[in-house]
């Protein structure tokens, strides 16, 4: 390993302001996308459940 200290690692040879935002942007966007897709899926499941509930109600009244 070529880093002598933790501080040196985070300094990235003076390029910390470019290196860390690059990795941070990837991590952040991937996290946001994951959460967004999970919400979309759960919303779709909920919408299906509501659909079935109304269908059942319709069948009963008919």
């Amino acid at each position: 390993m070529h880093w002598n200290s933790v501080a040196e690692f985070f300094a990235m040879g003076g390029y910390a302001v470019y290196v860390w935002p690059s990795f941070g942007a990837c991590a952040l966007l991937m996290l946001v996308e994951t959460i967004q897709v999970k919400h979309r899926y759960q919303a779709a499941v909920e919408s299906c459940r509501r659909q079935f509930a109304t269908d059942q109600l319709d069948n009963k009244t008919l």
Binding site: G14, Y15, Y18, F23, Y41, C48
Partner: protein, 267 residues
């Protein structure tokens, strides 16, 4: 229960292998299959990511010319590769949907587009963060950067066009034509560094000659590319499951599937 045209076709007339392909090309059979595959792709993405980051930060040496700034390569190149690759896969699905009229194809294309847009955005953002210290500018209108920006706009256009059309089958068709026309941009991006004088460096990895970088750097980059690839597959499968439910919620099989999941969750 409504009859499934694709399914009956596969069971009666198609030969056995393509019959099986048709079998999995129906949303009804693909939905549970995708659900089973997602965890494997997440695990693969995590393992490749851990290995890639470890090699990228702790094994790969400092670059002689660029110092530590070059480490942006470990996210920049995977994001750029995936932005182009996802577009090709998306256009292929869209084309299959246009030619064969299979329902799942359009859904797959729609599921891939946002992840492709994300990769293109990451490619541009990380490239900008790399360009500033190395070229002295965040942005320049050169061939490589401009064509990648156009790729991002093609994704955004595809998503916006589909969102603007209410009927999903018509939205699929319109989107497919846009996606197929836009394919011409992918080779332009890829070969832009050869065809034109650009500030962007040539490719570090090529199929025809040995790579112009240290073995450990290359290994870290490939592992990160695999991580991004597995992530993209997991994300597309998760999104396509949501799209299937959104589009097929009036069918019997969705009702059965949702009730099954409910009872599994209660156990």
């Amino acid at each position: 229960m409504k009859p499934h045209p694709e399914k009956s076709l596969s069971e009666n007339s198609a030969p056995r292998f393509s019959g099986r392909l048709f079998h999995y090309s129906s949303p009804q059979t693909f939905y549970p299959l995708a659900g089973k595959m997602i965890p494997f792709f997440w695990v693969a993405a995590a393992l490749f990511g851990i290995a890639g980051l470890w090699i990228g930060f702790f094994v790969a040496p400092t670059d002689a010319q660029q110092g530590e700034a070059y480490r942006i390569i470990f996210v920049h190149v995977p994001a750029s590769w995936m932005s182009m690759f996802i577009y090709l896969v998306m256009a292929a699905w869209a084309g299959i949907g246009l030619a064969l009229g299979t329902r799942l194809s359009g859904m797959m294309a729609q599921a891939l587009a946002p992840t492709g847009a994300l990769m293109a955005a990451l490619s541009l953002a990380t490239g900008s963060l790399w360009g500033r210290p190395m070229w002295g500018t965040w942005w320049i209108w050169d061939a490589r950067l401009t064509s990648e920006l156009i790729l991002f706009f093609l994704y955004v256009g595809f998503i916006a066009l589909q969102a603007a059309i209410d009927d999903p089958r018509r939205a699929d068709k319109a989107g497919a034509i846009l996606a197929l026309v836009g394919v011409v941009n992918v080779p332009i991006i890829y070969f832009s560094v050869i065809w034109w004088n650009t500030l962007h460096q040539g490719s570090s990895v090529s199929l025809t000659r040995s790579p112009s970088m240290a073995q450990t750097m290359l290994l870290g980059m490939l592992l990160m590319a695999l991580c991004f690839w597995m992530y993209a597959i997991a994300m597309a499968l998760m999104r396509v499951r949501a799209i299937i439910l959104e589009r097929e919620r009036h069918t019997e099989w969705v009702r059965a599937e949702i009730n099954l999941e409910k009872s599994n969750a209660l156990e």
